[in-house]
């Protein structure tokens, strides 16, 4: 059985294609030619569009998570539908593959399913993240155009409440069951902090038993309401980072068909001591900080950013991300994982007073500055 690509775009190296199961594949020119993709020419200095773009659809949320990176509120404004439709058309035209809707709470929009339908009709792969508040069977049915819906669930054994400041476990688990009953593919977003990371293995088992097909692990980031001194009491300790890498390695053989665990871009440096060489990671699409590269964002005002945490005016943030990757400082400059990690999370480096710099929580950066090791 052959696997035909469902979307493709030419690149200076060859092409990116998307397969029917949403796997992305990069091909060289010869292979792209064999697939019959029309040739393209690229001007000097060409910058490719992101593969994935995160689109904020509302600033409104019914809950008050203490660490909300968007500082969403109960009376926040929705982004106008006309603006979002224009955004989707522009993303399609630029060659983007995946669009991820976020908020605030996207479910507060009555037209969320309509947005997914529109993205699908353009050939984009739509996904969305929700707390699950306000989800009914009827709403879930309207979300069937989404390739996947991720429900926030920060863990068993009190993990959820420790991260968000309230216990939303029952709501999240009801949402997971409701989505599954309506035939919607479900994943779980799990923010890792000092308070819940020790329960990770139990959470993996629990989420799997609920029928989620994926657990997305997220580093706690000091943005929005989380940009405070409290960050220092929530971030993972160096010992927890070391243990996380080994936990992921031990989980790996149990993952694959039917259930997957993902690490976000910001976690890559934290577990870097456990990772293999960059060449292998690159071949299998492991992404560190891709802000301004394979990743982009569209803010509530319609402007473009490097990632959801990029609040620099205009294109300043995107330019800064790209400039850092092109010429990083030490220890990133000579780090063997540089091409994959791309310097770690700049949200963290800025919050901790290091400016736009190497991730100060990366164990390789810590060792470098302590004078104990090369990267």
């Amino acid at each position: 059985m052959s696997s035909l690509p469902t979307r493709a775009r030419r690149e200076p190296f060859g092409a990116w294609i998307r397969l029917g199961d949403d796997t992305l594949v990069a091909l060289d020119h010869r292979r792209a030619d064999r697939l019959g993709l029309p040739p393209a020419t690229f001007p000097p200095g060409h910058v490719s569009a992101p593969l994935e773009v995160h689109v904020a659809v509302t600033a409104r949320c019914p809950v008050d998570c203490s660490g909300c990176y968007q500082s969403a509120t109960t009376d926040g404004a929705h982004v106008p539908l006309t603006q979002l439709r224009k955004t989707l058309r522009e993303l399609h035209a630029s060659g983007v593959f995946t669009v991820a809707f976020g908020g605030g709470e996207p479910l507060l929009r009555d037209d969320l399913g309509e947005l997914a339908d529109e993205a699908r009709s353009l050939g984009l792969t739509p996904v969305v993240t929700t707390s699950g508040y306000g989800l009914t069977p009827a709403r879930a049915r309207a979300l069937r155009s989404f390739a996947q819906v991720n429900v926030s669930h920060d863990g068993v054994l009190g993990g959820y409440e420790a991260v968000r400041g309230f216990d939303g476990v029952a709501v999240a688990e009801r949402a997971i069951a409701t989505l599954r009953a309506q035939g919607v593919a479900v994943g779980v977003n799990h923010v890792l902090t000092r308070q819940n990371v020790d329960g990770l293995s139990a959470t993996v088992d629990h989420v799997r038993s609920l029928g989620a097909r994926e657990l997305q692990l997220l580093r706690y980031k000091p943005a929005g309401r989380a940009a405070s001194l409290d960050y220092l009491a929530r971030r993972l300790t160096p010992a927890q980072c070391d243990a996380l890498g080994e936990t992921l390695r031990s989980l790996s053989p149990t993952l694959g068909e039917g259930f997957s665990v993902r690490v976000d871009c910001a976690l890559v440096p934290l577990v870097s001591k456990a990772l293999p060489e960059a060449a292998m990671l690159e071949r299998f699409g492991v992404f560190g900080c891709e802000a301004g590269g394979h990743l982009g964002s569209v803010r509530r005002d319609g402007s473009a950013g490097g990632c959801s945490f990029d609040d620099a005016p205009g294109d300043e943030g995107i330019a800064a991300f790209r400039a850092f990757v092109a010429a990083p400082p030490e220890p990133c400059a000579s780090c063997p994982l540089r091409r994959v990690c791309r310097g770690g999370c700049k949200v963290v480096s800025r919050h901790l007073g290091h400016g736009f710099s190497s991730d100060p929580e990366c164990p390789r950066v810590i060792a470098f500055h302590a004078g104990s090791a090369s990267p």
């Binding site: 035909l4 690509p5 992305l24 996947q148 997220l218 890559v268 945490f309």
Partner: protein, 73 residues
């Protein structure tokens, strides 16, 4: 990891499992972080093979119409 991927991947440069559904940061599958070179080579080769047309496959009468070509951008 000191193993190397065998060059049997026939023009397949990268395979990235997707889509993921997070709206704030981009994710990567953990099972792809710790692949052995043997399994990695097999995955790349399988994807490469899946892109080849299979002219010897018999037509099945109930099979739906062929999918349209990919939207080229």
């Amino acid at each position: 990891m000191s193993e190397a991927l065998e060059d049997t991947t026939d023009g397949v440069l990268v395979v990235r499992r997707g889509p993921g559904a997070n709206c704030s940061s981009i994710g990567s599958a953990v099972e792809m972080l710790f692949l052995s070179a043997t399994l990695g080579t097999a995955i790349l080769a399988a994807v490469a093979a899946s892109l080849d047309p299979k002219p010897d496959e018999p037509d099945e009468p109930d099979e739906p119409a062929p999918a349209p070509p990919p939207e080229a951008l």
